[in-house]
């Protein structure tokens, strides 16, 4: 019966070993794929950065401030649909939660399924809109324009707004950042707006609408790069951990195998010795 137990444990260990080896193969290939996507995303981000930074300049130079009003806050949480990328989605979800707790009159536009899953349980009524099919392919301006158009068409009003996303810093680090969003009224009442010549509400409306699409595009690009680099790191760690588990399991497997052989030898020898003494 001890013998049987030995071989049964051997079987269990070898099954476990095979499965961990498979997982390691999968995480390694996911890491390769993420690395390729990250290189592309980083290249596109470099080209998009002057555009994104340029789009924010006016609001800084004109010293636009949040509207005084009770129309509430709008948060656009930019993330994606796919997981296994470290803290990318949870960091956004965490900040949205603290924001809603501090300011219950908040509407959230969610870009990406993962953050929706995080917020749905407790804050379902704050969710104004969810955008899905995000993250599979690199974002283009048309995607951001589509989201911006939907937000505009839905007629959401807000006094204070922000876009929440993960800004890319380096391959191993990203920072969850917010970009301020200003309503048309906020722009119209900006302290330095009179300096700007010949503006009417048409121009301001067109400007803010285009600006929304531009800022969204920029945040999507930053977030995509952060996500791919985070996934690369996460899968690399997973492969390393799997490798450690494989080493430990192999060690246990060999020890168990040797123990089984030793036990068999002992049984054979003691059986033979017993026969001899009988004779």
């Amino acid at each position: 019966s001890q013998q049987v137990r030995g071989t049964a444990t051997l079987k269990m260990i070898s099954i476990r070993l095979k499965s961990v080896k498979n997982i390691q193969k999968i995480t390694q290939s996911m890491k390769m794929v993420s690395a390729a996507k990250y290189t592309k995303a980083e290249r596109e981000l470099k080209l998009a950065r002057p555009y994104g930074i340029g789009a924010q300049e006016f609001y800084k130079k004109a010293e636009v401030k949040d509207e005084e009003g009770e129309k509430g806050q709008l948060i656009i949480a930019v993330s994606s649909d796919r997981g296994l990328c470290g803290a990318v989605h949870s960091s956004i979800g965490r900040i949205v939660k603290t924001d809603i707790a501090a300011n219950p009159n908040t509407k959230v536009v969610i870009v990406g399924d993962k953050v929706r899953n995080i917020l749905q349980r407790l804050y379902a009524k704050n969710i104004a809109m969810v955008v899905t099919e995000v993250g599979r392919k690199p974002a283009v301006f048309g995607d951001a324009a589509l989201v911006a158009q939907s937000i505009i068409n839905s007629g959401i009003e807000f006094s204070k707004g922000k876009i929440l996303f993960n800004a890319f810093r380096t391959v191993v680090s990203f920072r969850t950042t917010e970009m301020p969003l200003y309503s048309q009224n906020a722009v119209a009442n900006a302290s330095k707006l009179p300096v700007y010549d010949s503006l009417d509400s048409d121009v301001i409306q067109s400007y803010t609408e285009f600006s929304l699409a531009s800022l969204l595009f920029y945040s999507m690009k930053e977030n995509a790069t952060s996500e791919q680099s985070s996934r690369m790191t996460a899968m690399d760690n997973a492969s390393k951990n799997a490798g450690e588990m494989i080493d430990k399991l192999t060690m246990t497997f060999n020890r168990t195998r040797q123990a089984v052989i030793t036990r068999e030898l002992i049984e054979i020898i003691s059986g033979a010795a017993a026969l001899e003494t009988k004779n």
Binding site: E44, L47, A48, R49, P50, Y51, I53, G54, A55, E57, F58, K61, A62, V140, F141, A145, Q149, K192, V195, Y196, D197, S198, L199, D200, D202, V203, I204, Q205, S206, Y207, E209, F210, S211, S214, F217
Partner: protein, 163 residues
């Protein structure tokens, strides 16, 4: 891209004039102008000092020199001409976008798409114009009509740019 302002305000002042907001000073010692001209997928100028920029906007085409009065404008499909400091001129076709001129003479020209004019193919542009005109003829809904009209505007500007 959807046309964002379907009405052009008749009362909008034509901003081709240069009003000096502060004391009079000669253009000889005007401060330089820093241009950031970018599209979502490419950077054409990033904080580069230039002499003059001509932009096509819905409130009229105007030229921007250093110390231009601050303003915002929405771009129309057309040609942007950049006069660089060394005297060379570069022309780009833009589809749409915005231009911001700030108090400190920094200019942000954000175009949805911008291509150098010499990469345009006039026959393809004429074909696009014919296509959009037939689209307008067969358009049924308001949205389809507006889209066809935008397409015609862009292709007309394209053809004009090629000539």
């Amino acid at each position: 891209m959807e046309r964002m302002a379907l009405t052009r305000s008749a009362l909008r002042l034509f901003s081709g004039r240069f009003t000096q907001a502060c004391q009079v000073r000669g253009y000889a010692d005007a401060p330089s102008m820093s241009l950031t001209f970018a599209a979502p997928s490419q950077v054409l100028y990033n904080n580069i000092s230039v002499k003059q920029i001509d932009v096509p906007s819905f409130s009229g085409s105007f030229g921007i020199l250093p110390a231009h009065v601050p303003t915002l404008a929405v771009l129309k499909p057309g040609v942007v001409t950049v006069f660089e400091n060394d005297g060379s001129t570069k022309k780009f076709f833009v589809s749409s976008g915005t231009v911001t001129i700030n108090e400190d003479s920094t200019v942000q020209l954000l175009a949805e798409e911008a291509v150098p004019v010499d990469t345009l193919d006039i026959s393809a542009a004429k074909e696009l114009l014919a296509q959009s005109q037939s689209q307008l003829a067969s358009a049924s809904s308001e949205v389809a009509k507006a889209e066809a009209e935008i397409s015609i505007e862009v292709s007309e500007a394209l053809v004009k740019a090629c000539e």
